[in-house]
């Protein structure tokens, strides 16, 4: 389950998550929200965690700095940040990382700011926690940061309370909060989902600008493939707490390998039969059935899919592209900055780990032929034909 490219790269990735498992003990049993997830993130790069709600993407993101409540949560596996294993780090150590090295922006700006403090106070708080500066200096920094995230009249807005600002403004404030410690890694958990479409675009642009300016890596959690296409360098597709597919963003869109990824793409408006959602439900998180997690909704499922463990991640052969006419054999490329166009991305000839394309499906394993996945299927009929 671990990655195969451990020693070959010249530099350590900024963040490497290996076999992460986060589970919660509840009255109804142990909920395995994240069940063996691995991925890496290089400095300055953007990686998207994609999946439906309940896929474990938020828990994965919040496990990194142990923001999930423990207990009842339990985190195991390895989370290496600059080579340091965070699962073994003390709470004090994590606190000094949070906000300063690893910052978060959360989904709903309406609730993410404390209603009884001014927004300036809340930005300055980060500075005060991590640096010994005077209150006035911290406030000045806060006003500068508010200015940097394009808030009009930052000095006046610093004295405003959250309820006096619009949703988009609040999200800008939260971005300022995240920037205040000048982090190397920004974890953005659905930062635009709760916002209007036009505001969404503004916030995405803002994050991209700041990423370039501060040279941050961004771990972007989203269910929205439109956002993925816009921001990602590489993508990790999660389903029911497991990684289904890891791929560079162009590979995922041009040649999705895993049936689940294909289903997601097929449900994208303007692609395939766009009927909105994949039929069926996530398996029970306390007691998942054996075999592939996706089997109950997968139109390709065969008997073996319902047995044993979830299939391991296997490299995807370059020529197993979906439909005829899709870009076959895209030249591999190294990591590219967020705003890079796909032309720039394909510039580097180096086939490093960042170009790896793996999928956890039997048909990409050794015993099956991936071509089988290319036959036409109707996603909406999937459940009826192959369910249970």
């Amino acid at each position: 389950m671990s990655r195969h490219h451990t020693t070959t790269d010249q530099t350590e990735p900024l963040l490497r998550v290996t076999d992460l498992r986060t589970q919660f003990r509840t009255d109804d049993g142990v909920v395995r929200a994240v069940d063996g997830v691995s991925f890496g993130l290089n400095a300055g790069e953007t990686v998207c965690l994609v999946g439906e709600s309940g896929s474990g993407k938020t828990v994965t993101a919040e496990s990194i700095t142990r923001l999930v409540d423990c207990p009842p949560g339990e985190i195991s596996g390895r989370i290496e940040f600059r080579g340091e294993d965070l699962t073994a780090a003390s709470e004090d150590r994590l606190r000094s990382l949070r906000g300063a090295e690893i910052a978060h922006v959360f989904q709903n700006p309406q609730d993410a700011l404390n209603p009884v403090h001014t927004v300036g106070w809340q930005v300055a708080e980060v500075v005060q926690i991590h640096e010994s500066v005077s209150r006035r200096a911290a406030r000045k920094r806060a006003v500068d940061l508010l200015d940097r995230v394009d808030i009009p009249d930052p000095a006046a807005t610093a004295d405003a309370y959250p309820h006096e600002l619009s949703g988009g403004m609040k999200q800008r404030v939260l971005v300022a909060v995240a920037l205040a410690g000048e982090p190397d890694l920004l974890i953005a958990d659905e930062p635009t989902t709760a916002l209007d479409v036009t505001i969404q675009a503004q916030i995405l642009d803002l994050i991209a600008d700041l990423q370039a300016e501060f040279d941050m890596a961004v771990l972007f959690v989203t269910h929205d493939l439109g956002v993925v296409a816009r921001v990602a360098d590489r993508v990790v597709v999660l389903y029911a707490g497991k990684v289904m597919e890891r791929a560079p963003v162009d590979r995922l869109f041009d040649a999705p390998a895993h049936p689940y990824s294909r289903a997601l793409l097929a449900c994208l408006p303007g692609r395939g039969e766009s009927n909105g959602a994949i039929p069926g439900n996530l398996p029970d998180a306390t007691d998942p059935p054996p075999g592939c997690r996706f089997a109950s909704r997968c139109p390709f499922a065969v008997e073996d899919c319902h047995e044993g463990d979830h299939p391991p991640l296997a490299p995807v052969a370059e020529d197993t592209d979906v439909e005829a006419g899709a870009t076959v054999g895209d030249p591999p490329a190294g990591s590219a900055p967020l705003a890079a166009s796909s032309a720039e991305r394909s510039a580097s000839p180096d086939a490093g780990p960042d170009r790896e394309h793996v999928a956890a499906c039997l048909f990409h394993g050794e015993d099956y032929d991936a071509a089988h996945l290319d036959r036409e299927v109707a996603w909406s009929a999937a459940e009826g034909d192959h369910g249970e």
């Binding site: 606190r95 000094s96 949070r98 959360f106 404390n114 209603p115 009884v116 708080e125 309820h163 939260l174």
Partner: protein, 324 residues
């Protein structure tokens, strides 16, 4: 609608509420047969005088035979000018009797309020942040105990244990003891414990529930993601926000619980405070004193509510002044 207008409105409402409360007592008096007159007449009849004649004379002397409006205006004026009448059971003006009694009530009442707030919030918040630990379970147990135990029975059992069996503490209050003395502290210990048990428990449960709710909130997660320490999260974020609803219950519930409790406490421990004064007044059918001892807690409650509304202004920037 600004803050000033809000404050004006709340103060105005407090005045209206006071007026309504006083009027209500007047109304109740009017629709009830006059107890004092009956008592006087019955006494007179016992000593051989004519029942009805005495009764009438009694009413006349007090101006109770006049039209209702006149009596009402009189009554309200008297209340307003602090002319609250003469208490025959105490043999002195009502206000004088109250002036002597309140010191004794305050001696255990004020510490009880402080203890309720500090201990109640403290344990409640601590439990909320240390859920599922033995301390939390112990706290919950104490809270259930506190809200369920009848305070009069609790007092009796404590007196039996500490006063009768172990002989550690006095079994009743001695008003001859100096205010600032160890002995006074000792004799106030049980009353304070009994009175504050229920409200401490109530505050604990409520503040724990509030804190747990906020501990799960998104802004607390933001604070933790900033690298804030648990203490900072607790004081600057959770407690600061929780103060808004907690201030509400402090006034409304604690006062109600403590008022009811003070009658019990003063009866059991024989403390000559306001509660005992009220009970004696009722037993002796001493109407002016009954009214006074009823109105004082009502005034305190109205004042408390007003303070609480004003506290909102200071505590909660979200307050919608126009809406309240």
């Amino acid at each position: 609608m600004g803050m000033k207008w809000y404050v004006v409105r709340r103060v105005a409402w407090a005045v209206v509420a006071t007026y309504l409360a006083v009027s209500l007592t007047f109304g109740l008096l009017m629709v009830t047969p006059n107890a004092g007159a009956d008592v006087a007449a019955a006494q007179a009849a016992a000593s051989g005088q004519d029942y009805d004649a005495v009764r009438e004379r009694y009413l006349e002397r007090r101006g109770l035979d006049r039209p209702v409006e006149e009596q009402y205006v009189d009554y309200m004026t008297n209340i307003l000018t602090l002319d609250w009448g003469y208490s025959f059971s105490q043999g002195e003006p009502v206000l004088a009797a109250i002036g002597e009694a309140w010191v004794y009530s305050a001696q255990y009442f004020v510490p009880s309020i402080l203890i309720s707030a500090l201990l109640g919030y403290g344990i409640g918040l601590y439990s909320a942040l240390n859920r599922y630990t033995p301390t939390d379970y112990l706290g919950s147990f104490v809270a259930y105990f506190g809200i369920s135990i009848p305070n009069f029975w609790f007092a009796i059992v404590l007196i039996l244990l500490f006063g009768v069996v172990f002989r550690l503490l006095p079994t009743f209050y001695d008003s001859g003891v100096a205010l600032l003395s160890v002995q006074n502290a000792k004799q106030l210990l049980l009353p304070v414990v009994v009175l504050s048990t229920a409200s401490v428990a109530g505050q604990m449960r409520y503040s724990r529930a509030q804190a747990i709710e906020y501990a799960r909130s998104a802004f607390v997660k933001t604070a933790r993601a900033k690298g804030a320490s648990e203490w900072r999260v607790l004081t600057r974020h959770i407690l600061r926000v929780a103060l808004v609803p907690l201030s509400t219950i402090l006034i409304a519930d604690v006062l109600a619980v403590l008022f009811a409790g003070s009658f019990i406490i003063e009866t059991i421990f024989q403390i000559p405070g306001l509660g005992r004064l009220a009970l004696e007044a009722i037993q002796q059918r001493d109407t002016p004193l009954v009214l006074a001892t009823t109105l004082i807690p009502v005034f305190i409650a109205i004042l408390g509510n007003l303070l609480q509304d004003l506290a909102y202004v200071a505590l909660d920037p979200r307050i919608d002044y126009g809406d309240r």
